[in-house]
Symmetry: C2
Subunit: 258 residues, 2 copies
């Protein structure tokens, strides 16, 4: 990783040659663990603030390639589900004066600070990952990269809190059109776990019987004839997604909402 | 309008000073007329190809402000419904050699051609307008600005056909979350007109009775106690949207699909 950060450092010393000016990307990485929605965040060096994993676009790259490269560096994952969801272009999303102070505190040299100080229009991606497979790694500007609960994250740099809130709102509207459950849950899960995921994203309680009736009517689940072990009483059955049926149902949009 | 184009011409002669490099925007403008979905396109000068209305972002503007400015110039409209829907960033979306030839054919001077020839990452917006209120106006690089039917538009420049197709696909997934009917239909409409609009966007036939049952169950229509005049027999009733109920229903997403 040190090696990788050295490489990126060299590129940033001569940023204009390698990256497109004015365009950045920020990734909201969602994971699901212990019945809670988690977000992957960086603790910035010498700042008491958090940041979304982000990066710049090389001259020969698409935005998606740049996002995949960024997420590979932060998570160790090769295949990752990601979706552009909005572009953030407020000229005031970064206040030049405060930004310059922050960059100095973080010990970023003048050459790099000039690059970081320009106006960036940032493309937001959200990403859904299997929590258990992620190996979080900080970048060269952060001390740590780790999972946070939605409810107890700290203050964030720039407009990153707004980007995160927007990603959540978009996730909500895309629940019937994107394989969100498939990407967030482990391969085997119980119906209460699936319902909790939907309730968390929709931010409201769902009626258990209605939920189960609907999810079965979509024909997207495969019953595994296997039970969750190590549970106190009445062990719940395990299910997995029938990916082919799921993709087919999502194409039309799950008709019937939740 | 000549005056306005002169102004833009001057800005483009010194483009780097006024606009952000590498970032453009393209607008897919949808209208609804005579039971057909229409798109507003430009016929490029000396090229047998069409283009989406587009533009660049000034240093002090947000992307949305740049899109509103662009659409005001092309349509004469002040208040316009628009939504970012995707960013197009393929480095090959413009082939430099062919692009240079096209710019020459269009009679664009060297200074401006250098600007137009760079790599642009383009942010796609879709816009929904009241067809009857639009006064289409070409820009300085086009002979005409006019409405086309989805089915019989001609060849388009760059990746504009792909951008248009993507906008349509997104419109489909957002039908239950955006006030699409409200923005496209005239204030008063009949149920068959509303159904035709939904069928066109969803690209499939809907059952009349099911459609009406659902649309009434959402409580978003106001019955006007007025009939469409000038129709052969059995004049249909007119409706309008109950905007407050519509917005409220969209917030949750119209539960139940179509």
């Amino acid at each position: 990783m040190e090696r990788q950060n050295d490489d990126i450092g060299r590129l940033l010393d001569d940023a204009e040659t390698h990256f497109l000016a004015h365009i950045s990307l920020d990734c909201v990485v969602f994971g699901w663990h212990a019945n809670e929605l988690k977000i992957l965040l960086l603790k910035m060096k010498n700042l008491d603030r958090l940041a979304l994993p982000g990066g710049f676009v090389m001259h020969e790259e698409t935005l998606e390639e740049a996002a995949i490269r960024t997420l590979r560096e932060r998570t160790g994952l090769e295949n990752i589900f990601l979706q552009q969801f909005q572009v953030f272009s407020d000229p005031l999303r970064s206040d030049p004066e405060n930004r310059a102070k922050d960059l100095e505190k973080m010990g970023i040299n003048r050459k790099r600070a000039a690059w970081f100080g320009q106006r960036f229009i940032s493309v937001g991606f959200y990403s859904l990952v299997d929590f258990s497979k992620v190996d979080p790694r900080p970048d060269m500007f952060s001390d740590a990269c780790s999972w946070y609960n939605l409810g107890d994250r700290g203050t964030m740099v720039l407009d990153h809190d707004h980007i995160l809130q927007t990603a959540l709102a978009v996730l909500r509207t895309q629940l019937n059109h994107q394989p969100i459950g498939y990407n967030l849950l482990p391969r085997k899960f119980t119906l209460p776990e699936l319902q909790k995921l939907y309730e968390t994203i929709l931010d409201r309680k769902l009626d258990r019987r209605n939920f189960q009736r609907k999810v079965f009517s979509y024909g997207i689940l495969r019953s595994l004839d296997e039970k969750r072990t190590g549970v106190a009483h009445k062990a719940p059955y395990l299910y997995s997604f029938d990916l082919r049926q799921y993709q087919k149902a999502l194409k039309l949009g799950l008709q019937g909402g939740w």
